[in-house]
């Protein structure tokens, strides 16, 4: 089948602003949008820039706007979006070239959440594992699935309006540790998130939840963090 793909193009060495270019390629309805981009890059225009690595929805490098909405290109089939496809970079991060955006601010916010286990207590008597019940593990199971693709943060109108907002992905990261029964850094993280650029900027537009390729219920996670802040309880 014939697939028409309109792609946002921007070359910092030549352009002062972005523009669109349209390509027609032969493909299959079961192709992924990533395959179509590879076809364009491999056969028509080698200068096209986009990120990809695993091509299987694991590494989180190919989030982009496909027909006006954030998706992973490697998890989006042509048959689900139609043969006329528009591909643009995600919003709210600087465009470096074509579909490649500057992810530094995103990862800076991630780091602010202290994304590691904090536990200063002595090890258990056997000196080995800090055990956890299946119920306690289930409490934060969903937020462990984040692949840091930024589809959520860059779909959030609060983040578009204010790049200082930590964003939904950072809060999901914080959630993963705050509700981990082995972790002792919850109050520190809740304090960070109670700052003006924290959860107060979430106005429940739900764009993040709709965009997440891992089906994480992000707004729920943010709601739980907000509630923990108000009640001081982690149950």
């Amino acid at each position: 089948m014939e697939i028409t793909i309109k792609i946002f193009r921007y070359d910092p060495e030549k352009d002062t602003r972005g523009h669109y270019e349209t390509y027609v390629v032969e493909g299959d309805e079961n192709d992924r949008v990533l395959d179509v981009l590879e076809l364009v890059k491999g056969k028509t225009d080698g200068s096209l820039a986009f990120r990809r690595s695993c091509a299987h929805g694991v590494c989180g490098s190919d989030a982009m706007r496909i027909n006006g909405r954030n998706h992973l290109a490697c998890k989006t089939l042509v048959r689900d979006v139609g043969a006329n496809i528009t591909v643009e970079p995600v919003l709210g991060l600087k465009v470096k070239k074509d579909l490649v955006v500057d992810m530094d601010p995103f990862f800076d916010n991630y780091k602010k959440m202290l994304p590691y286990l904090i536990n200063e207590s002595p090890l258990p008597a056997d000196g080995r594992e800090r055990l956890q019940s299946p119920e306690d593990r289930a409490r934060f199971d969903e937020s462990t699935k984040c692949i840091l693709c930024a589809a959520c943060t860059t779909s959030c109108p609060s983040y578009w309006a204010n790049g200082n907002y930590y964003g939904p992905a950072a809060i999901v990261t914080a959630h993963r540790f705050i509700f981990d029964s082995r972790d002792e850094g919850a109050s520190e993280r809740l304090h960070i998130l109670s700052e003006t650029d924290g959860t107060v900027r979430c106005h429940t537009a739900y764009n993040c939840t709709e965009a997440c390729p891992r089906d994480i219920k992000i707004t729920k996670a943010i709601g739980e963090v907000k509630m923990a802040m108000v009640t001081g309880k982690l149950d």
Binding site: K96, G163, E210, K217, G223
Partner: protein
């Protein structure tokens, strides 16, 4: 080098965020509509003469009343839905169902109000 991160209002509105995003946008339109209405209303009461009469004539017009009632009612019902889900995060996964219920309640009340406003406005 790179394009800046600014997202224009038009680009933001074109984002296909689906049903929840629509309520988010309408909530803001409702809030803005009410803020403008109250400001103009206050202004009108301080302005005497033609200016005041002109402003009064606008918001006493039934077309404007349909608009302002939309703003107030949608903002109230949507705000109620947001508050309930904020207080009970466990319900958040059912936000789509909550939004459906919200639309049903809104359309029923708003439909009745619009019918009444038009009938009165047309002198029925």
């Amino acid at each position: 080098m790179g394009l800046n991160r600014n997202v224009s209002l038009m680009t933001a509105l074109r984002y296909k965020g689906q049903g929840p995003f629509l309520t988010y946008i309408l909530h803001r339109i409702g809030g803005l509509g009410m803020a403008i209405f109250i400001t103009v209303h206050l202004l009108a009461s301080f302005l005497s003469g033609k200016g005041g009469h002109f402003i009064n004539a606008i918001y006493e017009n039934w077309v404007f009343q349909i608009f302002i009632f939309f703003c107030v009612l949608f903002h109230a019902i949507n705000g109620l839905r947001i508050t309930i889900l904020d207080l009970f995060p466990k319900l958040i996964p059912y936000h789509r169902q909550a939004i459906t219920i919200e639309w049903v309640a809104f359309l029923a009340i708003y439909g009745f109000a619009v019918f009444t406003i038009i009938r009165t406005g047309l002198g029925g």
